[in-house]
């Protein structure tokens, strides 16, 4: 291709109307099953609609993410499906793509700017967090000491979820947070830190974690301490593993973000936009999360809930 | 003390004491350096020669005592300060940068620059070339020093010192790796310098050589200045007596050979030079060695003695030829295999190939023979200690004990440790490469006694040497090597110094 083809006006017209072409899917590390499901769903959908696809991970590194977006631009992708690496760090690259005439569809995590991305389809984390927190409070009978395990401090959702949890729980006077540690979304770190925390607070009644991997780490630690029946654990994401834990009664609840659903929606809207130049939807779309507890856990699939 | 010439000294050290921890390295030494003269400093290993020189060159500070330069008292802040004041030194241990070119090495720390920012390479190369010419070593100034032979490297050290155009030039064993012709060149240069009024301080364990160049002789013993004289008033015997406290003829007491059956036979051995494959370091060597023999391998630097010995020891692989031990064909194999067969090498470079600096004396000794002390998979400390202590007695290693750090031993004793390590493998053939390099006469004598003793026990002793006197005095046979070939062989007593040197090609040009 020659050098000036990247200029926005032209590639819009060339891009318009017919399907086919490339859809770039960029997600956080796919060694986390959640993002894997997300990426797989998007790719599957895109193929189904007759697009080439490329799936890549930005490893939660904003710099790598911007490189991946550059790469998508170089390849004249028709659209980018992005689960971003930072609400602020992503703004620049997305604008770059927009200027290159490539629509960006954000999934799962939003960015702190509007009018740049064509769509921001995110699970409503704070609503989900509140759901989870309510169930957690219920399971604990509205009282008792608990521990919160936070995700990577630098991650948007870590903050949103923690806030959601605390908004609800702080309403309950008899519930007391006795410890709070970041386990960086990591299972083994959650395990180790939970074990150590238990040393000081054996008398806790619950653990609420920023995601399921950490929750499962905590479960392992609690099982080891033989407190499984006493300590209630709640997670977030609705991962299959967490589902099993809920079935076994090791966790009281997790909150399903319909990752697969969101990804598919994003691709469909992208397809719409490529063909018609518009999505027919508002930029910000918050998809409600679904609470998973022993009642409905049976229907839990891979980050999707079969009714 | 004998008369010191009337001229006023360029440099003078008064009542120098130097203490390292509890080592009293120098005891109240008064030392004067005369302009235009060569002062030779003799002394055993550890006598304090290098330490005294380091103090003159500003590398070490005297514990007590003062220095005078050109009549004024000075305090040298460091080697750089000394150099700037006209005192420069050629270190005993090479201090070069193998990764840098000859020119860079010469100008390190005193780079030339026209604009005060970038280095003036052209000027540096030009001057470097001049100096190398002067030393009759026409090397390209851009050659990385790392690829030079030891001898060539030492010449670079000398060139470095010349570059600084010092008024006082200290040479601490500058010739330990130089061939005779190279030494002659050096001596010529020294004469030129003295003619210009430069004061030279010269240290060497090579007696004849040192006396040849000396104007004035100073002897250190155990950190004290024990004797001083004009060179023409003294001879080697005098020096040795002052150094060691024994007379020289007691030193070489070689026993009459009683040679037994043939042990080692080498036929038409060819070895490619490890450095450059275009050159054969060993070029068709054949030899026969018998039990109870002490055989010298004399030759110049680059003659290929090291390669020959290292091939026998299994470090280098022969390109062709065969080696037989007790008539048995020796298969190509690792150094370990050769040691098991009874072929053990005492390497040329003690520090680099002989000793593990992080280990104690005892651990160094037993390293090659550990297998002998293994009982049920574990090394038996008792068996090991027993063997080590016995050997330390036999070989008279002077150390605080088996646990003393190897670095704490004097050069001679370190060499004895390496020798002990070899002996502990109970070898059939003992190969020694320059076993006396950098070792004082006393220690030398002891080493040779040991070699003779081993031969008596029915071992074969083959050692490489660069000192004719050693070749003539010690062994039962002398093999002269040149350009990778054995060019001549002498029986004990049948050779003269001249014949040997001619054979080696030393007296050419």
């Amino acid at each position: 291709g020659s050098s000036d083809e990247g200029s926005s006006s032209e590639s819009k017209t060339t891009a318009a109307k017919e399907a086919g072409g490339l859809i770039a899917v960029i997600t956080p590390p796919v060694d986390n099953p959640f993002f894997k499901a997300e990426a797989d769903a998007a790719v599957a959908k895109a193929k189904e609609l007759g697009y080439e696809t490329s799936a890549a991970s930005h490893e939660d590194d904003p710099n790598k993410q911007s490189e991946l977006i550059d790469a998508a631009i170089s390849r004249k992708a028709k659209a980018i499906i992005l689960d971003n690496a930072g609400a602020d760090a992503t703004i620049g690259p997305v604008r770059k793509a927009k200027e290159a005439g490539i629509p960006v569809f954000l999934v799962d995590r939003e960015i702190n700017a509007t009018g740049i991305a064509t769509a921001q389809i995110v699970a409503n984390n704070s609503q989900g967090a509140q759901l989870g927190a309510q169930e957690f409070v219920k399971a604990m009978g509205g009282k008792g000491k608990y521990v919160e395990l936070l995700g990577k401090e630098s991650d948007t959702n870590a903050g949103v979820r923690s806030k959601g949890y605390n908004d609800v729980i702080s309403q309950v006077p008899e519930m007391k947070k006795v410890a709070e540690q970041s386990a960086n979304w990591d299972q083994q770190e959650a395990f180790t830190k939970m074990e150590t925390i238990l040393q000081r607070n054996r008398d806790i009644d619950g653990v609420i974690a920023g995601n399921d991997t950490m929750a499962l780490g905590a479960v392992a630690a609690i099982k080891k301490a033989g407190l499984t029946d006493k300590i209630k654990v709640a997670g977030f994401d609705g991962s299959p593993d967490a589902g099993q834990a809920v079935e076994k009664g090791e966790m009281v609840a997790t909150v399903l973000q319909p990752a697969a659903l969101i990804a598919e929606m994003a691709v469909e809207q992208a397809d719409q936009f490529i063909k018609t130049g518009k999505t027919g939807k508002p930029e910000k779309q918050a998809i409600d999360c679904v609470l998973i507890n022993e009642e409905n856990v049976g229907g839990l699939g891979v980050f999707a809930l079969e009714q | 003390m004998s008369a010191v010439t009337s001229a006023t000294p360029v440099m003078r050290a008064r009542a120098i004491n130097k203490v390292f921890g509890a080592t009293h390295a120098l005891r109240g030494v008064d030392f004067a350096v005369m302009p235009g003269r060569v002062t030779v400093l003799f002394g055993e290993n550890g006598a304090g020669k290098s330490t005294l020189m380091k103090i003159l060159a500003g590398i070490e500070r005297p514990t007590t005592g003062t220095l005078e330069l050109f009549g004024e008292p000075v305090v040298l802040s460091g080697p750089r300060d000394a150099a700037d004041r006209g005192v420069s030194i050629i270190h005993q241990e090479l201090s070069l940068f193998p990764n840098l070119s000859i020119a860079d090495n010469l100008y390190m720390g005193r780079e030339r620059s026209r604009n005060g920012f970038t280095v003036d390479q052209r000027a540096q190369h030009a001057r470097t070339r001049e100096l190398l010419e002067r030393l009759e070593e026409p090397l390209d100034p851009k050659t990385p020093v790392g690829v030079l032979r030891l001898g060539q490297q030492q010449l670079v050290e000398i060139a470095k010192a010349l570059l600084q155009e010092a008024r006082v030039l200290i040479m601490d064993e500058p010739t330990s790796a130089l061939s005779a012709p190279e030494v002659e060149v050096l001596f010529r240069v020294i004469r030129e310098l003295t003619a210009q009024g430069v004061a030279i301080i010269y240290i060497s364990h090579h007696m004849e050589e040192a006396l040849e160049i000396a104007d004035h002789v100073v002897v250190l013993r155990d950190g004290g200045l024990v004797a001083e004289a004009e060179a023409d008033e003294v001879d080697a015997g005098w020096v040795v007596e002052r150094m060691v406290g024994r007379s020289q003829d007691e030193l070489y007491t070689a026993a009459e050979p009683e040679t037994g059956a043939e042990v080692l036979a080498v036929d038409d051995l060819v070895v490619a030079d490890p450095g450059s494959a275009v050159r054969r370091a060993v070029d068709g060597v054949s030899l026969r060695l018998h039990a109870g023999e002490v055989v010298a391998l004399y030759g110049l630097m680059g003659a290929g003695r090291t390669e020959l010995l290292e091939t026998l020891a299994g470090r280098l692989q022969a390109a062709s030829g065969e080696i037989r031990l007790d008539g048995e064909q020796v298969p190509p194999g690792s150094i370990g295999d050769r040691i098991d067969l009874g072929l053990t090498l005492v390497p040329e470079d003690r520090q680099r190939d002989g000793l593990v600096q992080t280990m104690s004396v005892g651990e160094n000794m037993s390293l090659a023979s550990l297998g002998n002390y293994v009982r049920r998979l574990l090394v038996s400390r008792d068996a090991e200690r027993e063997a080590v202590e016995r050997t330390m007695k036999d070989v008279t290693v002077r150390a605080a004990g088996p646990k003393a750090p190897i670095g704490s031993l004097s050069g001679g004793n370190q060499q004895k440790v390496v020798l002990s390590k070899a002996l502990l493998t109970n070898p059939r053939v003992l190969l020694l490469d320059e076993p006396t390099r950098g070792i004082d006469v006393g220690a030398k004598a002891e080493i040779f006694e040991l070699m003779a003793a081993q031969a008596k026990r029915g071992l074969v002793v083959l050692f490489a040497t660069s000192e004719v006197s050693e070749a003539l005095n010690v062994p039962d046979r002398i093999l002269v090597m040149a350009k990778g070939r054995i060019v001549r062989e002498f029986r004990r007593g049948t050779a003269t110094r001249e014949e040997v040197m001619v054979a080696s090609g030393e007296t050419e040009r």
Partner: protein, 378 residues
């Protein structure tokens, strides 16, 4: 890397030398200082424990000590292997990835190995799973060793490469997924994997016993066997070792294999504790292991150091980290403190060497003086 003389640790065998010190007053004083410094790491650990115990009564309880020790066990295992590699003058950056890989291998095997040609699924018994996982660790180590000893690749690079390769392979095998239930099942007769990380013998967790086992083995290996002596010799002066007939290449390769096995063992314990194996387990563990070894007073130049030191190093790091968690110190401060401790520990170590160096020289003095001439005796 780093040919700074600064790192070449004075007259190294100082510690021995000191025992032969002349009994001058200075000698005695040095002995004392030196003893203190020898015990430096111990003391650091002791101080650490005291401080935390004062700050939280939950710290110095049998339970917590056991728990913390279990956490330490992981890093301790890595540190033991790392120590040997560093002793011989190398370094192993791939241990973290081996941790992940070993876990994944265990995961694959426990959840059933599908052999398509026969289309059957094989469920090896747990002991076989463990052995196989350890062999994989040894295998990666063998590659490291071969690259270093045969292809003359700098250890830092060879193992850096394997850091990526091993991790990548773990991710490919597992397709990035976590193996959720390593509990095995009765009818398949492959239960009991969780015993490694969860079981106890006489109230002592198995993982701790494994650490002790490896530690003892390592101490014997380094102190009592010829192989151990070879490692020190190679680290001290490889050329000299070679000339002494030490099978340098074989020894080097073995060392990396040992490190690989230790790492794999750590990986198994983690997987067992969580009864689930994640391919990304063990990231950046290599740094902790190196830190432990170095805090233990081992020279990165090789040839100097011991197992005891490495273990203490691991305990210092682990007990510190857990203590900070118990106190609820923020993650950020935890990072800063960890870094500072590493540096401080090593600065201390330097001063130790300097003083031991002095001591060694004094010993030297003693040994040298007699070598001076004694005219009378002649």
């Amino acid at each position: 890397m780093s040919n700074d003389t600064s790192t070449t640790a004075g007259p190294p065998t100082g510690s021995e030398a000191v025992r032969d010190l002349p009994s001058t007053s200075e000698g005695r004083r040095l002995k004392v200082i030196n003893l203190v410094l020898e015990l430096r790491a111990f003391i650091a650990l002791f101080v650490l424990i005291v401080v935390f115990s004062l700050l939280s009564d939950a710290y110095f309880t049998w339970d917590n000590l056991i728990t913390m020790t279990r956490h330490v066990a992981i890093n301790a295992l890595l540190a033991i292997g790392m120590l040997m590699v560093i002793l011989k003058g190398g370094i192993d950056l791939s241990v973290g990835s081996i941790v992940g890989l070993a876990g994944v291998v265990a995961g694959v095997l426990l959840e059933g190995l599908r052999v398509d040609v026969l289309n059957v699924v094989i469920y090896p018994p747990v002991w076989a799973v463990v052995v196989l996982a350890l062999m994989v660790g040894a295998g990666v180590g063998w590659i490291n060793g071969t690259l270093v000893s045969r292809f003359n690749v700098a250890p830092f690079i060879a193992t850096l490469g394997m850091l990526y390769v091993a991790r990548g392979v773990a991710l490919l095998i597992s397709d990035g997924k976590t193996y959720p239930n390593l509990g095995g099942s009765e009818q398949l007769g492959n239960t009991g994997f969780d015993w490694l990380g969860g079981g106890e013998i006489l109230g002592i967790p198995v993982s701790i016993l494994i650490m002790v086992l490896f530690a003892v083995a390592a101490i014997v290996l380094t102190r009592k066997t010829a192989f151990g002596r070879w490692i020190y010799a190679i680290g001290g002066n490889e050329r000299a070792a070679e000339l002494a007939g030490v099978p340098v290449r074989k020894a080097k390769t073995r060392v990396y294999m040992i490190s690989g096995v230790c790492a794999a063992m750590a990986g198994l314990i983690i997987a067992s504790e969580l009864t689930s194996a994640a391919p990304q387990a063990g990231e950046t563990f290599e740094l902790n292991a190196i830190a432990a070894v170095v805090i233990g007073g081992t020279s990165l130049m090789g040839g100097r150091g011991n197992v005891r030191g490495a273990l203490i190093g691991a305990f210092v790091i682990g007990f510190l980290a857990d203590g900070l968690v118990i106190l609820g110190v923020s993650t950020f401060w935890q990072i800063v403190i960890k870094g500072s401790v590493i540096i401080l520990a090593v600065i201390l170590d330097q001063s130790q060497q300097r003083i031991q160096g002095r001591a060694a020289q004094m010993a030297a003095a003693k040994s040298v003086t007699p070598s001076g001439p004694a005219p009378a005796s002649a």
